[in-house]
Structure formats: C-alpha cells, structure tokens
Symmetry: C2
Subunit: 216 residues, 2 copies
DNA sequence: TCATAATCCGTACATTTGTACCAGTAATCG
DNA sequence: CGATTACTGGTACAAATGTACGGATTATGA
C-alpha cells in the first residue's frame, strides 16, 4: 500500500469527505493544535481507525482538508465570475457580490482560509492551490475593473483582494459593529475604485498633493 | 503557589523573557502545534523544567508570548507616531515608514502577528492587546491623514491598515517578486490617499461613474 | 554570617496522540 | 455464487507531551 487510491465505494467516499470537512471545522475552532485523529473522527462521527485508513498521517489529512477548502472556494468564485460577466449590473453591485463571496462567509470559513494562508507559508504543497485561489479572486476583480476602463486592472485587483482580506482578518481579531464594518469596507472599496479609474495623468495630479511636506 | 509572581532576580527575568521570545520563534516556524515545552526550552537554551517553573501551562506560555509580541509592536509604532508628528516630512515618506513598520518586518514576525490575529478570534484574553495594537496602527495613519485634511481620517485609517495587512498576508501565502510587491503596495496606498483626500462632493461625483451598469 | 526564600534542573510519570494491527463484514467482479 | 478485494472498527502500543517532584544551588536580607 504505497499510495492510497480513491475509495471505490460511495459510502466510503462520503466518509472520507466527512473527515476532511470535520478537519476544517476542528481547525477553525481550535487552531492547528486541535486537529488530532481523535478530534476529527469524533466530529465526523466515524471511528478513530477510519482516519488512518484513509490518510497516511495526520499532516496529510490536514493538508488535503485545506486543499479541499481552497478548491471549493475557487469553484464558487469562478461561478460568480461567469455570472458577473453577463453584464447588466452596476459596478457597485458586483463589488458587493464580490465582497460577499470573498469575505461574507461564516467565521469558521474565514478562519480556515487564513489558516491556509499561514500554512502555505510553511508547506510548499499548499502554495499552488493557494496561488490559484488568490488568482481566481483577483481575476474577478480585474474583469470588473477592466470593463470600467481602470488603469492597470490586474494590479488594482491585487489591491482589492488585499483590502478585503485585510478587513476580514481585522474583523476576526477585533469584531466591530457589523453594520459599521460593512459600511467602512464598502467605502474603502469605492475609494479604490475611484482612484484606479483615473487615468495616469489625472492620478499624478492628485498625487502631487502628497509630495508636499506636512506641518506637524 | 496560586499565582506566580514576577521573578525578582535579573537573570531569572531574562530567562523568562527568552522563553517567551523562543515561543514566538517556534510558533512562526511550525505553527501552534509546534509550540511544546520541549521545543521552546530547547530554542531558548534552558532546561525543560524552566518552562513549568515560570508558566502554569503551555497555553499560558503561548498566550503571554503573543501578548508580549503585540505589546512590543505597539511600542514601536507609538515611537514612530511621535516621530511622524514632528513634521517636515512628506506624506509619502510617512507612508513608507508606516508600511515598513507595519509590514516590512521579518517573515517570522509577520507570521507571528497573523497567528495572534487568528488566536484572538478564539482566546478572549488576547482581544484587548490585539485591539490596542490595531488602534495604535490606525492612529498613526489617522494622524497623517488628518494633517492632510482627509475626509473621515479615522475611517480612512482602517482602510490603510487593512490593505497593509492584506498585502502582507498575501505575500506570505504567495510570494511575488519583492520589488514588484513593494511597488504595488505603494501604488495602492497612494490610491487610497488620493480617494480619501477628496471632499465628499468631489468623491460623490467620481463615484457616480460606478453606479452605471456595465457592458458585459 | 546564617536563615530563608528563590531559582535551578535532572528525572519521573500520567495523559494524549499517532499509528499499526487484525478479525470481522460488506461490496464487487468474474 | 464464490473468491477476492474494500472497508470497518475495536484495540493495542510506542512515542511525544504536559506536568509534578525534590534535592542541589544560589541570591537576599536581617
């Protein structure tokens, strides 16, 4: 049994998946130190031995769970991208949908996503799916920005995704009033829209104001 | 020995601190599951028993290490805030210093900071120092923005800190070319500056462009 | 200087955890 | 239907880990 094949029986496949989802849940609740065979098995409602039957080690289980999580994220986002491309919506609407898809998830899902980011900085195998996920996020933003004639839409897209993740991370670390938080995020997104929609000359003109020294 | 007092001897205090710093290092390298008594003691170069002598449990050790980390961060930032308030600098210079202080740290320090954010979403004791740290970051940004006559400087500051942390998080998860990354971040910060420096009316005028529907 | 408290550190031990084992059951395929 | 394979799940056990213990050493203060 050098490499474990994908289970052939339906019930078995669903068990395997249940284990992966349980692992995400445990991770979000208690952090990576809480992800043990026993905790995952208990949450998935399967016997302990199932975990070692389906996965070579606990690390492999965790890693595959994280991969599944980002892969599903990408699929969602790709569906949304296709929908946005149909046209007939305002940028603001798209921005809201976009923010919601990226950052309007359950606390659990957001914690898991950020755990993936951090884990990717340590585990090379996770970098590729994480990079794909970020790219999918950015592509959606870039598409909307390009349709608007924004300056450097691909680069602006990086800024959008960054500010969304930044807000989400801060919200986890320091919860604010949800309505205020949403309003602030929306305002920040609108601001980015405005600045990136200018052409280079216009932008440079505004920017010159910030090259002057400040009075203390 | 219900509560452990602060050590009275100098050597002892420095050992205790060495343990806390070692814990941060271990955490950044291997995640929270790597933070064990033995790993921390080995990294700090002290015997295993020191860890239980100074700390009631491994969780307490971890938590205090994280608290120390954010507290030091706040102190750095407060020093920088004072320096920025002296005047005679351009906003761009301040922005660069600000970005550097927040996000230009070692990979290790950044990973640790984000681990704190996630841990704060689970451990209530961490919320207060994390909130103080975020506030310190935001205050520095708000001060510069206010000096510039920016619209709603406190709210704009939230956006700045969010975009900085977002970029930093993405950089960890998916390293880009460092020069390109820095240029993108700088451009994004400049864009936010521009948008938040407009007055409400001007901003609304620009924003109207984004209320129109998009062509697919 | 002496007594008392603080600190040190090797070691022991119970608990938790990862992982292997294997007898049994269910599915699959010829 | 029979045999072969896939899966199940209880249990065992070695390794890692958290934590306690207690005697040796060092600082502190009267």
């Amino acid at each position: 049994m050098v490499t474990k094949p994908v289970p052939s029986q339906a019930r078995s496949r669903s068990r395997r998946e249940a284990l992966l989802r349980a692992a995400i849940g445990v991770l979000a609740e208690g952090g990576s130190k809480a992800v043990t065979h026993r905790a995952v098995a208990a949450r998935a409602g399967v016997p302990l031995a199932s975990t070692t039957y389906y996965f070579k080690s606990i690390d492999e289980l965790t890693e595959e769970a994280l991969r599944l999580h980002v892969t599903e994220r990408v699929a969602e986002l790709e569906a949304l991208t296709a929908e946005a491309a149909e046209g007939g919506r305002t940028v603001e609407e798209i921005a809201l949908r976009f923010a919601d898809a990226l950052v309007g998830r359950s606390r659990e899902a957001m914690v898991a996503q950020f755990e993936v980011y951090l884990e990717a900085s340590r585990v090379p195998t996770l970098r590729e799916p994480v990079a794909r996920a970020l790219l999918a996020f950015e592509e959606l933003a870039a598409r909307a920005l390009a349709a608007l004639g924004a300056r450097r839409p691909e680069e602006a897209a990086l800024a959008f995704v960054a500010i969304l993740d930044g807000f989400a991370l801060h919200r986890l670390a320091r919860p604010l009033d949800p309505e205020r938080d949403a309003a602030l995020l929306f305002d920040a997104m609108a601001s980015l829209f405005v600045a990136y929609a200018m052409d280079e000359d216009e932008f440079e003109m505004w920017r010159a104001r910030f090259r002057r020294p400040l009075a203390g």
